[in-house]
């Protein structure tokens, strides 16, 4: 079972409009709900490949939280959820067809109290007993400690889960690395504010990866210049993955797709390097979709993308 932990999921409300004009009444030409958040995106991508998937969530009270669960169940995903006070985080995504831009407004989301946290950890423990891969990603609700991913990874490792994969930012990322996850991937958009320098080239990526390994992670995947990722392991081995794709790509959901692909590869029994290659192929597939949704593709179509992934071991 692939188990994805999402402490702060979002209900994305996608509104497609012809043109956004500030201060004017604008009608949508299409709108729909879509469960979101890094953990949920990853779970939905993994489930598309027919892999038994469970999503552990902490949603807000009421209708939106319940709708989010129902939509995941409709996709065949098992859910185990706690309900917090206040409303589920809602992302209103305005897709403006006039200039192909996406504007997202994120709500504050619910608050996690001490009793909620205890219940959440209990639900996590129950859900990961038979997990092959435990994934966690994204932000945590207000009130949740910055050690949340550290605690989940420590718990999973004590149960015997070998493959903990995490993507996060800031203090959450640093603490998660200290729990020695199998794979860690930083949110590169916030690297500068936390590590004090931005990634400009391959050396910058390797520096960040080595820092995460120094903190405790077994392997680190770090992106640079949109189409490249480097995998660094604690043995010192470095593998560079480059996408041979000239046209512009849309990075929304690409990071989740990469880690979903890594998870799928591991679940299929591949080594991490091959799993990462598959992850790059899946990321490219998602990044080149012409639709707003990152789920509008067939699993078979990822195979042709693998041809565009160049792998090079660095010395």
């Amino acid at each position: 079972m692939f188990v994805s932990i999402t402490p702060n999921p979002a209900m994305d409300y996608i509104m497609i409009i012809n043109k956004l004009e500030k201060g004017k009444h604008v009608s949508s030409i299409n709108d729909y709900y879509s469960p979101g958040g890094k953990g949920i995106h990853t779970a939905r991508l993994v489930a598309k490949f027919g892999i038994p998937t469970m999503s552990v969530n902490a949603v807000g009270e009421g209708r939106i939280g319940r709708k989010l669960i129902l939509l995941l169940n409709d996709e065949g995903i098992y859910t185990n959820t706690i309900f917090l006070r206040e409303h589920t985080r809602t992302d209103v995504v305005i897709v403006d067809l006039s200039d192909r831009t996406e504007t997202t407004i994120t709500s504050l989301g619910p608050h996690m109290e001490e009793e909620d946290l205890k219940e959440f950890m209990h639900v996590v423990e129950k859900s990961i007993l038979n997990a092959e891969v435990v994934f966690m990603g994204g932000s945590v609700p207000r009130g949740a400690p910055s050690t949340l991913y550290y605690d989940v990874i420590s718990l999973a490792k004590s149960i015997g889960v070998k493959h903990c994969i995490v993507t996060a930012r800031g203090e959450l990322l640093e603490k998660a690395a200290e729990a020695k996850p199998y794979v860690i991937k930083p949110d590169t958009s916030t690297i500068k504010e936390y590590f004090g320098y931005s990634i400009k080239d391959l050396d910058g990526s390797i520096k960040i990866a080595e820092k995460l390994i120094e903190l405790g992670a077994e392997n680190a995947i770090v992106s640079y210049k949109d189409k490249n990722d480097v995998l660094v392991s604690k043995t010192g081995k470095k593998v560079l993955y480059k996408l041979k794709y000239e046209e512009d790509i849309n990075l929304f959901g690409a990071s989740e797709a990469l880690l979903a692909g890594v998870s799928i590869g591991i679940m299929k029994g591949h080594g991490l390097e091959e799993a990462t290659r598959f992850g790059m192929g899946l990321a490219l597939k998602v990044a080149t979709l012409e639709t707003v949704s990152i789920f509008d593709f067939s699993p078979e179509s990822v195979d042709e993308m693998l041809l565009k992934v160049e792998v090079e071991e660095l010395t």
Partner: protein, 150 residues
């Protein structure tokens, strides 16, 4: 068609040691009237409903009459509920409940749900672990989507 084809794969449930006050809070947050109780291995231990809580809060009334029509005011109910709130849900949950195996035919599921007037039915695997839930709206939704031979 089997039960696994129509069930919702929702394993949301609470442990038997949950305080009843917390159960009431969770029901209100989730806007539901029934909660399944499982142990740490997802083994189904029981179910609690708003009706069970009401009866437990007014044990003297419901032991004689199946109505609250003769209650003079809310005091007795509020007092009973407060006393109850610190107890564990395992003390009032319905233990002898219907569960259905995921391999059961849907026709048998409908018979059980209609025949027993059940609104919610936990679905289990061969080991008795919770693997999903069937409620009436989700059953109706699947039935409407079913291809009927003309």
């Amino acid at each position: 068609m089997r039960v696994r084809d129509v069930m919702r794969r929702d394993l949301t449930s609470i442990p038997p040691h949950t305080k009843i006050g917390r159960v009431i809070e969770l029901m209100e947050r989730m806007r539901i009237a029934e909660l399944i109780i499982t142990d740490k291995n997802f083994k189904v231990k029981g179910i609690v409903t708003d009706g069970i809580i009401m009866r437990a809060a007014l044990p003297r009334y419901f032991s004689y009459l199946d109505t609250t029509a003769y209650l003079p005011d809310l005091d007795e109910f509020a007092r009973g509920l407060k006393e109850l709130s610190e107890k564990e849900v395992s003390t009032i949950m319905l233990k002898d409940i219907y569960v259905i195996n995921e391999d059961t035919k849907v026709l048998d599921l409908v018979e059980v749900m209609v025949g027993r007037r059940l609104k919610i039915l936990p679905v289990t695997d061969k080991e008795g672990r919770l693997v999903g839930v069937v409620d009436r709206p989700s059953m109706f939704k699947k039935a409407l989507a079913y291809d009927v031979e003309e």
